[in-house]
Amino acid sequence: MTHRADRCLHVAALARVEGEGAMRVCVEDGRVAGVQLEIYEPPRFFEALLRGRGHTEAPDITARICGICPVAYQMSACRAIENACGVTVPAGIAALRRLLYCGEWISSHALHIYLLHAPDFLGYDGVVDLARHEKSTVERGLSLKKAGNAIMELIGGRAIHPVNVRVGGFYRTPDRGELASLAETLRRALDDALSTVEWVAGFSFPDFTHDHELLALVEPGRYAIDSGTPTTDRGLAFPVTAFEEHIVEEHLAHSTALHARLAGRGRYLTGPTARYTLNRRRLSPLARQAAAAVGLGKDCRNPFRSIVVRAVETVYAVEEALRLIADYQPPAAPAVPVPAPGRAVTGYGATEAPRGVLFHRYALAPDGAITTARIIPPTSQNQASIEDDLGRFVAGRLDLDDHRLTHECEQAIRNYDPCISCATHFLDLTRVDLTVERTRHRRPA
């Protein structure tokens, strides 16, 4: 069983990954011959669905691409459409959008930390097992997640598929009283978020690092969430309008998704560890202090420690939400008009989804009808780096039996919080979640 020269691990449906996917790791002559992460469903259906729709419909339609990060899709869509139409929203509306986005970060990070990722580090089968042994911990996680949902319900209208967002702003904006009650919830959430950092920092992390170029949005004076300039840790920066000149996508045979690379540079990584590495100094003092107290340094290149970065970002998002609520002045109008452009135009938008940079481009006809739509989600940008990490990770663990190695690979994939299909949900009446196939790997004659 162990020390076999050739073997092939195939995990048909990845449990506790944000989506539906499969992983194949092939070992030949005691060396890793290939790693493939299959991604089934890129958002091409939605790009096609958007063609011919009115420019004001983009946020509602793209919100359906992901049930975990609908706000990210809405915000990138709004920015791109408004960019096409030459509209900049007033500061009050921009602040409310950032508050809404903080809600999604809190909710998505709490979900990933508590329900999906932490059980790995503690040796539990999943969150049910964790709850059986540490009930109050899981309750804290659900309560934190609910605080994020409370923001999304008040500002976005609903937690899943927020309906209050429109191009140009919102259908309705809250009054100060409504936000005050939200602040009560968030003050309690801040304690939970700080406890979360301490909790996850106590886990043991495999000694594993990568050397990928890191890409995140960067904005002067604050931690980039809803806007910023794409920037890497190796000195590359470019405007969002030039995103597709610098990010090139390739088709690979084993996946329907496109793999992104930095033109002339190679694979790269986006997401929490990239954001932290590029924006650490722009965290709030409390979040920075929490990071320092648990030993997060000036960068984070161990993907397993991403769970700590998510916890630190949750502290930041709760604190930032409280600051935005304290400073809130209801805008003069819930939205500014975004009329049809009157000529053919193209617009670009990028924001930081919980799992990384999310880019949208729309071309509009003079009457506002969408003629082309392009969506580059973070998971397809990260795929090449995830596969590279998995290959090196497996190479150092070939003495493990298949079951254990498969489990560790799954944990490694969860480090990236990949959004793989991001839009489907079925029940199978028989449990077939984990299949480990052991086959002799046939060599070419």
């Binding site: 449906a13 506790r16 944000e18 989506g19 539906e20 469903e41 259906f45 939605f46 669905l49 359906r64 049930g67 975990i68 979900l111 329900l115 999906l116 999943g126 969150v127 049910v128 709850a131 059986r132 009930k135 899981v138 309750e139 659900l142 997640k145 609910k146 949902n149 937690a159 899943i160 793989i420 299909s421 991001c422 839009a423 489907t424 949900h425 079925f426 029940l427 199978d428 009446l429 449990r431 077939v432 979640d433």
Partner: protein, 160 residues
């Protein structure tokens, strides 16, 4: 107790996966006093928040089965759910069985939980239900309406 909640689970952009929300759309057009109507993508924490404290939760969801009989409805109660371990094949830790088990551990199950699991035909991208599933949706909307009314009558009788 907070009465009755009906939760339609699924994604309307994935053809038959959208049958849960389609049932909710039909129910919204009817007079169902005392029943909360909700849609969800089935994420564990969201389901628990929705049904927590309810006297009766009716959950409608799509299932894949092999061989498939599109439109066939399986009615499962909580006890059966835990035994069969109904499980989502994909995405977002969306596992109804896990949501039930977690709610049980946390003491956040509704008093009664009934799952209507409908076998899906086509779950590719698209907006329309397949005809057999469309018929099942119409039938389920009627059945759930009857269940809700019957539950209300029982409650009124108990109060009287």
């Amino acid at each position: 107790m907070n009465g009755i909640i009906v939760i339609g689970v699924g994604n309307p952009f994935r053809r038959d996966d959208g049958l849960g929300p389609a049932v909710i759309t039909r129910l919204r057009a009817r007079d169902l006093p005392g029943a909360t109507l909700a849609t969800s993508l089935g994420e564990t924490g969201d389901l628990i928040d929705l049904w927590d404290g309810a006297e009766l939760a009716l959950v409608v969801d799509a299932i894949r089965s092999s061989p498939a009989h599109p439109g066939r409805v399986h009615r499962l109660t909580v006890g059966q759910l835990s035994g069969e371990r109904a499980r989502a094949a994909s995405s977002h830790g969306m596992d109804l069985g896990e949501a039930v088990e977690l709610a049980r551990e946390l003491g956040r199950l509704p008093v009664r939980l009934v799952l209507y699991a409908v076998e899906a035909g086509d779950v590719g991208f698209g907006l329309d239900l397949t005809p057999a599933v469309e018929r099942a949706v119409a039938h389920l909307a009627d059945e759930i309406t009857t269940v809700v009314w019957a539950t209300q009558r029982t409650r009124r009788a108990q109060v009287a």
